[in-house]
């Protein structure tokens, strides 16, 4: 079932795995969030010393999936959309960015968030919708954003961030900020109005944007083959004069290189790039989904062989820089960090009951003031309970 991964147009060199790096050792940054290790902005290969942190971040994302799925079953969080299978794509893709670049995520971009320095506590604050949540408990789990990390807050409607990212890129260019914007979206999102508008505006205005399409094979129950009759999703760039590339999203090197090249191209003024990152959604669409209804175990098993985490681990072990023992220890460490964050954040109280009447506008209108007052009275008299 493995789709053939091929390179189209624009990027001449092929994305084969680079020779195993030598003379470096895995170095993990100690806190839960790996903190971006700066590499020369022009480098198109992952710096050897970054592979460790990248691997750790991927493992952290995977472990978060496990924990959150369990917590959702226990009724401790309301919803969760796992990233499993897309860790290499997201972590390597985000790793190739500059912290000043603007990320426009969908709802499955946990790996990206971790690279941007979103902390475990911040994530769980959001999942619980507690009083520390930067989103003030207004969004479902997985829908978060942090302005200071240039990680825009996502929404549920599919695709809307794509054209927004183009707008932001034009704004950045107008301000002469040397950054790119990068919307993350799925194969399903290529059918959205906003993809069409985003790619078209991107092409016409030569926006410094990287369209990062994670083709994970499925849009809930719809397979990629029924989403569009295009040969590849990268091919869609042709419709907009935007170069398209296909990369194997289970290979951190390919993804990193593609983003770096697209970034350089965007900053040089040569316009946007559409990157189709071929991955597979190993888990369910979300905790509301039962993938057994629409796909076979055999297909999943086939893709599990490409598991990006196993693949990078293998590469590291092959290179003599890593061992199963160390891996087990790392996993334990990561899980402990998660547990600690859960304990801390679950103890934080719920959002202020009156808070949901804020932020409709910059300042509350008289009408909202009045409604807030009514709510206060209803809380007071016990008509409603938080």
């Amino acid at each position: 079932m493995r789709r053939k991964v091929r390179t189209v147009r624009f990027l001449a060199q092929s994305y084969n795995r680079p020779p195993a790096p030598s003379g470096w050792a895995l170095s993990f940054v100690p806190q839960s969030v790996p903190g971006r290790v700066v590499t020369a902005a022009s480098a198109t290969e992952i710096a050897p010393e970054d592979l460790g942190p990248i691997y750790r971040t991927m493992l952290l994302a995977r472990s978060l999936d496990e924990r959150c799925l369990a917590m959702q079953r226990q009724g401790r969080i309301g919803f969760y959309a796992p990233v499993m299978g897309q860790e290499a794509a997201q972590v390597a893709g985000a790793w190739a960015l500059d912290p000043a670049d603007w990320v426009f995520p969908a709802y499955r971009e946990l790996g990206v968030a971790l690279v941007r320095g979103v902390t475990l506590d911040e994530l769980f604050d959001q999942f619980f919708g507690n009083s520390a949540d930067r989103m003030k408990g207004r969004q479902m789990p997985n829908h978060y954003g942090y302005r200071d990390r240039n990680f825009v807050v996502g929404s549920s409607p599919i695709g809307t961030q794509i054209i927004q990212a183009v707008g932001a890129a034009l704004a950045a260019r107008r301000r002469k900020d040397p950054i790119v914007t990068i919307p993350f979206f799925g194969d399903g999102a290529t059918s959205s109005n906003d993809f069409h508008a985003g790619l078209n505006f991107g092409g016409v205005f030569q926006a410094p944007t990287i369209f990062f399409c994670q083709n994970n094979g499925w849009a809930i129950s719809l397979p990629r083959s029924r989403q569009t009759a295009a040969k590849t999703l990268a091919d869609k760039g042709v419709a907009y004069g935007v170069p398209g590339v296909v990369v194997d999203g289970n290979d951190v090197h390919q993804v990193f290189r593609a983003v770096r090249e697209a970034r350089a191209r965007a900053l040089s003024g040569a316009g946007p790039t559409l990157i189709e990152v071929q991955v597979y959604r190993l888990g369910a669409h979300s905790t509301s989904d039962d993938p057994h209804r629409y796909r076979t175990d055999a297909e999943v098993a086939e893709w599990k062989k490409q598991d990006p985490i196993g693949r990078l681990k293998h590469e590291l072990i092959e290179a003599g820089q890593w061992s199963e023992d160390q891996d087990a220890k790392l996993l334990e460490e990561v899980r402990a960090e998660i547990s600690a964050a859960v304990t801390r954040t679950e103890a934080i109280g719920p959002a202020d009951p009156l808070s949901f009447l804020d932020d409709v506008f910059a300042t509350r209108t008289l009408q909202l003031d009045e409604q807030r007052h009514q709510l206060e009275e209803m809380l007071h008299s016990g008509l409603v309970k938080p």
Binding site: D133, R138, Q139, M140, S156, G188, S192, A219, R293, A351
Partner: protein
């Protein structure tokens, strides 16, 4: 007659309509092999084939636009929009095309389309899986808007909608998809569009509600008895065309009105009911018209139970209204 849930009643109505008329077909996201994310179309692909239960790409523009085209040609498509919150990419096709085709063509091109969509809060869906924006559609001339609150109405009204010659926006209160059960008939037994349902009779105040607000409104009316208040509860059921006769008759009797909906208040559907009463039942009215609604904010997540009207708030409004005059 069998006892089913509201979502099962929807499923049965689809099955009945498809069995009765080969020109009825379904299209939408994840409605085929997956049976719909709420299972409203469960089993239909197997029984009616991929030609009539069409899994579409992720495009509401496409779903509505294709349904319009099918209807122009003469079929009776029933489109599912996965959540009402996601209908807006198809909004242009709905308000510019679906609603206006018959009119602009001088009657040559009816648009026999039903758009079904789960709507409303109470399932911890946050901003984008909870909205009640029925007012957008009710304000759009050319669309009928139907909202059942019981399995029997879901069944009978969906059948009426599917065989209605006009476009119908059929909003399914997903919060009570599985919490409300009831009997539904077999076969093509329809509930007419355009008639409200009196849930309970009363003499002191009229309560108007629909959809998922019917259970708390019922509870509130019962509870108000303890306050010595006799409340009449009307389930509007079809928002367009509104059963204005039933609304006016009730208020002419009771002299008071409480209007309940979960949508935001400002320019919500309840405003129209209030406006009609203030114009046509003015001299019957003894007290201010009270609206119990969602707040004028986007739909929140963690605090949704504060946002949504509940039985206690409705009861208070009933009592306050009766005490006011």
């Amino acid at each position: 007659m069998t006892e089913v849930t509201l979502v099962q009643a929807v499923n049965r109505a689809l099955r009945t309509a498809m069995s009765a008329d080969p020109e009825v077909l379904l299209l939408g996201e994840d409605i085929g092999v997956n049976g719909g994310v709420f299972r409203a179309t469960e089993g239909l692909l197997k029984d009616f084939g991929a030609d009539r239960v069409i899994d579409t790409p992720l495009s509401e523009t496409g779903i509505v636009g294709a349904a319009v085209g099918m209807a122009l040609y003469g079929l009776k498509p029933v489109a599912e929009i996965q959540f009402l919150d996601f209908i807006y990419p198809g909004f242009d096709q709905i308000v510019s095309e679906l609603a206006k085709f018959r009119y602009r063509s001088g009657g040559q091109y009816p648009c026999h389309v039903v758009i079904r969509s789960p709507y409303g809060g109470g399932i911890k869906g946050g901003l984008y899986h909870s909205q009640s924006t029925e007012a957008y559609f009710a304000h759009t001339a050319g669309l009928k808007v139907v909202v059942p609150s019981t399995p029997a109405d879901a069944y009978g009204l969906l059948l009426s909608s599917i065989f209605d010659p006009d476009p119908v926006i059929f909003l399914e209160p997903k919060r009570i998809y599985r919490t409300v059960t009831g009997e539904v008939p077999e076969g093509d037994q329809r509930v007419p569009i355009g008639r409200a349902r009196t849930v309970r009779e009363g003499t002191d105040v009229s309560v108007f509600a629909y959809g998922a607000m019917i259970p708390p409104a019922t509870e509130a009316c019962q509870a108000a008895e303890a306050d010595g208040v006799s409340a009449e509860l009307i389930d509007l059921r079809t928002l367009v065309p509104l059963d204005a006769g039933a609304v006016l008759a009730s208020v002419e009797k009771t002299g008071r009105a409480v209007i309940v909906h979960e949508a935001a208040r400002f320019c919500g559907y309840g405003a129209e009911i209030a406006a009609i009463l203030a114009e046509k039942a003015f001299f019957s009215l003894k007290a201010p018209i009270h609206r119990v609604t969602g707040f004028d904010t986007p739909f929140p997540y963690a605090l949704e139970n504060l946002y949504l009207p509940n039985a206690a708030r409705i009861r208070q409004a009933i009592v306050d209204t009766v005490r006011a005059g």
